[in-house]
Symmetry: C3
Subunit: 286 residues, 3 copies
């Protein structure tokens, strides 16, 4: 199967392992380019019998993905356009009325027959981290990774499956802290909170993930399917209404104030490489 | 809103953050004084639009709260009197027949619209720790905090929502260890077991909690409500029957032997400042 | 009650604590000898009022239990024979049609009125680790313990309650990593992943477990029963269909290829003391 047409996403396949590298400068924003490419890739790879494992990483050492495009707030056309493009990228897949496109993508990632692994060696905030939380496993590079949901500071909630997945992975107490506090979670804390499987030394993470991916790629697909389905009996998928609740709240919080605030954030440096290095500092200063 | 009439509880409000300081010497016992004050505070603050975050801490550097009053065991009038006073402190709130007053308080704390944070810099045992486990977040001071449920050694079970909450927070295996072992859990172990969000250096915990509380207090109440309600779809509240089961067992264990044993414990130094410094040692010696 | 007739299992009783020591050289395989003895012990001790706590450990410093007998794969008579012997060891206990005998044993261990504690100071793989995961608590010796489920590399899944229990204890992400990666989990990682309660220094684990077991043995059985039943309201037992699903997949994966592969593994040193010291290395080389 060919994956050459996916803007912002580079796919390489070796021994049954596909590496999907986010390569969409300057910040790997989850925007009208990357969102359709991700959805297109996921729904194509689902039917690719040659691929057993998918590793998601980033071409940018500083950022896995900065977050969703701020234009979703400042430009009323941006989110509908990105959504339409993402729907067109996998036209035969159902899109429930009461879920948004990021939530749809979440369930599509989670239900892949392949095993998915996230490698986090830069910052992943907002929609970038929301995407990561759907993967089967996540590994973070000590001293380099940082994960955060800054949405509440902006006046919304993580609405692309992020509030739901934080609660699922971290439990109520730590999910509330991370979502409402909005601060960056480094690799070691992410491991202690269950946001990643493990924090690994930055110079070992590539080899570790590579070995794990190859091992799993050598397993028979029947075994992987049996394990995934049995695990599912104990840790079932997110109920439909959970995403619908999250999505309902997200739309209820889209107000005029939000647009004004987004413009102020952009003026202060949000969504620039310089500003994103200390996004939390910018928000504290506003 | 005024909070000046709450015996044993000092409330200060700054920038939307209420700090509720347990100040009921000598041991911050959850007794006929503190229990009604806590319930009165919680059900008054619920309707206070000026307060967005509540931090619970202690005026006593050695103890957050020693535990429930031993008089509940030795004096047949004490528990009914404390319960009646607590009911009177929030007369319009429902009190289910099959729950005890500490369990009622637990659900009232958990259902606050505000975000609640516990700061643990001394010992919190028994009912003191049971209260803490209902808060949205908890932080413990390294080298100073200690949490325990010594009830099983006394011949009962943690019955003020404590057995239920230990299972909810720690999982079956660690909950059984902490409840049946009855030993003090220090800050680092509390973090590893999920009994607190994080263990923090004792000289940093105040600033950390203060910053977090201020940040959350700046969020819009709509955002906080949306996050709490969405998290609730994944980590739902404790089912009614769980507390009822716990309460049923608690009452089934109130026996004559228990009264005799309580007198022996008091004679050995339980419920004195000196004795409470090594309560586990006293129990081992009995 | 007498426990002298249990081949491969040594039982000593002191102050209400039974220590069940796996002593079935050369590898404490869960085979046609040890499986019936374990089941017989568990269903006898259930009715022994003199025993309040059961500690499971191993006479072999290198191995808690290597895994299930490879003969289950290479000899078509071995598994039926072991199952029949295990059924005969507790003939009055029900054996559901859609569960295998290891899953039956799992639920029998979990439902004991006594408190069960596992002490892991050597390697526990496959069925050996599956057994451990049913105990109420587990403690692992730093530098000595290692736990793994190598089944997927062999072409099956952990089918003796292991896939289900990994998901229950570790959550979806870490369960998938451990089951599909098949690598040894050392004591510290086991603690961080929730596979054991705690990792303890190898020279302290005996005293720690001994103190904890004695403390619990001094509690009244009514208190222990009340705590266990209340904890169960929050962390309920595994649903019947979860084990049935796991067992269904296990049998669907028993193929001719599996037998051929098992012979190759045995030839490479699997199920020898030397080979089991680096089982993962053998599998990587095959």
């Amino acid at each position: 199967m060919s994956y050459d047409d996916l803007a912002g996403l580079r796919i390489t396949v070796t021994n049954g392992v596909a590496t999907a590298t986010l390569d969409h400068p300057p910040l790997n924003l989850v925007d009208g380019v990357l969102l359709p490419s991700l959805r297109g890739f996921i729904n194509r790879v689902r039917r690719d019998p040659d691929i057993r494992v998918v590793v998601f990483d980033s071409a940018d050492p500083g950022f896995f993905s900065a977050h969703g495009d701020m234009a979703y707030l400042t430009d009323p056309e941006a989110l509908p356009a990105a959504t339409a493009a993402a729907i067109a990228a996998a036209p035969d897949m159902p899109v429930p009325d009461d879920w948004n496109i990021l939530q749809v993508l979440s369930e599509e990632v989670r239900s892949l027959p392949q095993v998915t692994i996230g490698k986090i060696a830069g910052y992943a905030r907002g929609a970038g981290n929301e995407f990561l939380m759907n993967l089967d496993m996540r590994f973070a590079a000590i001293g380099r990774s940082g994960q955060a949901q800054p949405e509440t500071i902006m006046g919304i909630l993580p609405g692309g499956a992020g509030t739901v997945n934080m609660a699922r992975l971290l439990g109520r107490e730590r999910a509330l802290e991370v979502i409402l506090g909005g601060q960056l979670v480094d690799a070691e804390l992410a491991e202690r909170y269950g946001l990643v499987n493990r924090a690994l030394p930055a110079d070992e993470i590539d080899a570790f993930v590579d070995r794990l991916a190859r091992r799993i790629a050598r397993l028979s697909p029947e075994v992987v399917a049996a394990v995934k389905a049995t695990v599912e009996t104990i840790t079932p998928k997110v109920p439909h209404h959970a995403y619908a609740t999250e999505n309902g709240f997200l739309y209820s919080l889209f107000t005029e104030d939000l647009v004004a605030s987004a413009h102020k954030q952009l003026a202060a440096g949000v969504q620039t490489r310089e500003g994103e290095r200390d996004l939390e500092g910018i928000y504290d200063s506003l």
